[in-house]
Symmetry: none
C-alpha cells in the first residue's frame, strides 16, 4: 500500500502539471472569461495563491495551457510521422495521430480550437498557428503538382489548403463531442478527401462558375 503516500507538499513540477490539468479542464468547460481562478484552484485541489505563484496571471496561465496542449499535439503528430516514413504514408499517420490526440486530450483540443479563437489576446497567435499549418499543407500540394508539371494559382493553393485544414478541424470538433467515435475512421476519410483534392487540382478537370446573367 505505498501508492502516492504524500498528499500535500508536492514538488513544484508535479503541482504545476496538476494545475495545468485543472486549468485545461476548466477553460475547456467555461471559456477563458467565464473560468474563474477560484474554480481552477479548487479543481486542482490547491489554493489560489499557489496558482499565481507557479503559473502567474490568468492570461499567462491560459497561454501556458495553449503551449502545453499545442506542444503535446505537435509532438504527437511528429512522433507518429517520424523521420523515415515514406512520403505517401506521412499524411495517413499524421492524421491518425492528430485525431488520436483529439480523442485522448479532448479538453486540450477544445481549449486550443474553440476557446482561444474568439479571445482577442490569443486569437492572433492561434491564427498564426493555423496559417503555418495551412502553409505546410499548401507546400505538400505544390510539390505534388510541380512533380507533375502543373501550375496552379498561389491563391487557389492557399484556399485549398485552408479548406483541408478546416475540414480536419471540423471532424476533430465532431469527434470532441462524440467520445465513442473512432478516430481512425475520421483519418481514413480525411485522407481520401485530401488525395482527391490533390488529384483534382492535378488533373485540371475542374468545375467553373457559370457566366452571370
Amino acid at each position: 500500500m505505498s501508492t502516492t503516500p504524500a498528499f500535500r507538499r508536492l514538488p513544484r513540477a508535479v503541482r504545476e502539471q496538476q494545475m495545468l490539468d485543472a486549468a485545461v479542464r476548466v477553460f475547456s468547460r467555461r471559456g477563458f472569461h467565464a473560468a474563474s481562478m477560484d474554480e481552477i484552484a479548487e479543481d486542482a485541489g490547491i489554493s489560489k495563491p499557489m496558482v499565481y505563484a507557479y503559473l502567474g496571471t490568468k492570461e499567462e496561465l491560459f497561454i501556458a495551457c495553449l503551449h502545453r496542449e499545442g506542444a503535446r499535439m505537435l509532438e504527437t503528430i511528429a512522433g507518429a510521422i517520424g523521420p523515415d516514413l515514406p512520403p505517401d504514408q506521412r499524411l495517413w499517420h499524421g492524421l491518425q495521430a492528430f485525431f488520436g490526440f483529439v480523442a485522448t486530450y479532448r479538453d486540450g483540443w477544445v481549449v486550443l480550437y474553440r476557446q482561444a479563437r474568439g479571445e482577442p489576446p490569443f486569437a492572433g497567435e492561434l491564427a498564426m498557428m493555423r496559417a503555418r499549418m495551412a502553409e505546410v499543407v499548401a507546400g505538400m500540394l505544390k510539390r505534388t503538382l510541380h512533380a507533375e508539371g502543373r501550375e496552379v494559382r498561389e491563391t487557389d493553393l492557399e484556399i485549398q489548403a485552408y479548406a483541408l485544414v478546416g475540414a480536419s478541424e471540423s471532424l476533430a470538433d465532431w469527434l470532441a463531442d462524440r467520445p465513442d467515435a473512432d478516430p481512425d475512421q475520421l483519418a481514413t476519410r480525411m485522407v481520401n478527401i485530401a488525395w482527391l483534392g490533390a488529384d483534382q487540382l492535378l488533373s485540371g478537370e475542374v468545375w467553373h462558375r457559370p457566366a452571370e446573367g
Copy 2:
C-alpha cells in the same frame, strides 16, 4: 414622407436595429464576456437602460444578435437558391450567397462562428445549427448516391458532410480576415471540392488504411 426626418424619438423598430448593430459590432470585437453593456450602449449612442428596456438581459441581447445574424444568413442563402433552381446549380448559388454574406456582414459571421462557439450558454444551439447544416449536406450526398444505386455507411456520409461544412467555414473565416478577397473564388473552389468528394464516394475508388503492424 421625407427621408430620415428626425434624429431622436425614432420608432422602436429602428432603435432596436441600431442597438443590434452596435451589439454585433462589440461582441464581434470583444467576445461575449469581455463585451460590456456600457460599451454597447455607448457604441449605439443610447443610454444603458434603453438597451435593457428594448432587448433585455445581456444574454438575451446576445441571443437576439445570433438570431438576427443567423436568420440573415439563412435568408440570404435561401433567397439565392430560390424555389426553381435546377438541382445542379443549387450548390453553387448557395455557396456564393454564403460567402457573400460573410463578406458583407463580417461581424455577424464572427459572432456566429468564433464567439458563440466557446460560450456554454450558446454553444449548444450553434452546434445544432451546424448539425442541421450537415444534415442537409448529407441529404444531398445521399440522394446523389442513391440515384446511382450506391450505398454508403451512414457514418461516412455524416463525416463527409461535416468535412464539407468545416471546409466552408474555414474558408469563410479566412475571408473574414481578408476584406479584399473575392468571395466568388472561394465559392468556386468549394464547389469543386464538394463535387469531387461526391464523385469519390460515388465511384468507390477510395483509399484504405494500411493494415497495422
Copy 3:
C-alpha cells in the same frame, strides 16, 4: 423643517464633494495604502462603485484629494494676500492664512504633508510644490538683499528658504495635533523668525564654523 430633504439620488457635484471629504478624512487617518476604498465609500455613505464611477482609481482619488486641498490652500493664501497689499504686510497675511488653513482643514494638511510624502507615486509632485514654495521665499529674500546692495551665495539663499519653509511646516504640523492652539500666534512667531533670518543675511553678521582640529 425643510433641511436637506433628499437623502439619496444627489446630483453628481454634491456626491463628488462628499466623497472627497470622506477620502481626505480616511487618507489622513490611515495613509494611502492602509486606507481601503471600502472604508472611504462607507465613510461617504455611498457604495464603492460610485466612487470609482466619479473619481476613478484609488490613486486618482488620492490625486484628486491632493489637488483639491492644494488648491484650497493656495486660494486661501492668495485670497488673504490680495493684489494690493503693501509688500511688508504680505508675509504676515500669507502666514496667517496658511496657519488658518491648517487649523480649519486639518485633514487636508495631514494628507498633503504627512501622507503624500512617503508614497513614491506622489512624493515627486509634492517635492516640486515645496520646491516652488522655497523658490518664492528665496526670491523674496533675494529682492530684499539686492535692495540693500548685498550679495549672497545662491546655495545659501536656497538653504535659508528651505529652512523657513521647514519651520513653517513644522509649526503647521504642531498645530495639526493641537486643535485648541492659536494659529495667529504661530503666524506672529513665524514672521519674527523670517524677518530675523533676512536681517541676518542682510547684516552679514554671521557666525562662522570654527577651524577643525
Copy 4:
C-alpha cells in the same frame, strides 16, 4: 582570524544586521505598506522564514529599523557633542553630526522622517521623539534667556523650538535628495538661524501683529 571568512552560516548578529540593512533600504524606497516581506528577504539574500525567525512580524521589523536608525542617530550626535564640550560649541557639533548622519545613512533618515510619519502604528512614537528633541531645544533657549534675566511665554518657547527642529528637518530632507551637497554648510547656516532666533527672543525686539481692522 581572517577577514570575512565565510559567506553562509554567519553568526546571528551579523545576519540580523544584514536583514535590517535590507529592510531599511526597502522601507525607504517603498514605504511601510508598499514594501513586501518578499522583497526584503530577497534584498537581504535570505529566505523569508529566516526574517520571521530573527526579527518577527513586519511591524516588529519596521520598529527594529526605527530603533536601530534612531539609536544610531542619537549616538552619532551624542558622540559628537561629548561630555566636556563648552556650551557654546555644543550646538554646532550637534548639528554637524546630525547632518552628517543624514548624509551617511540617507535611507535611515528617510525611514525615520518620511515613512514613519504617516503610519498610525508608528507616528505616535515618532511624534514623541520629536517632542523630546523640541524639549531639549526649548530647554537650551530657556537657559539662555534666564541667564539674561528675561522671561518668555512657555508657548512661545515651545513654538520657537519646533520651528528650529522643523527647519533642521527640512534641511536634512533637502540633503537627502542631494547626495553631493555639503552637510557642514547646512550645519553652519542652521547655527546662524538658531542663534539669531535666540537673540531675538532675548532682545525682545520683536515684530507684533498689526491691530485687526
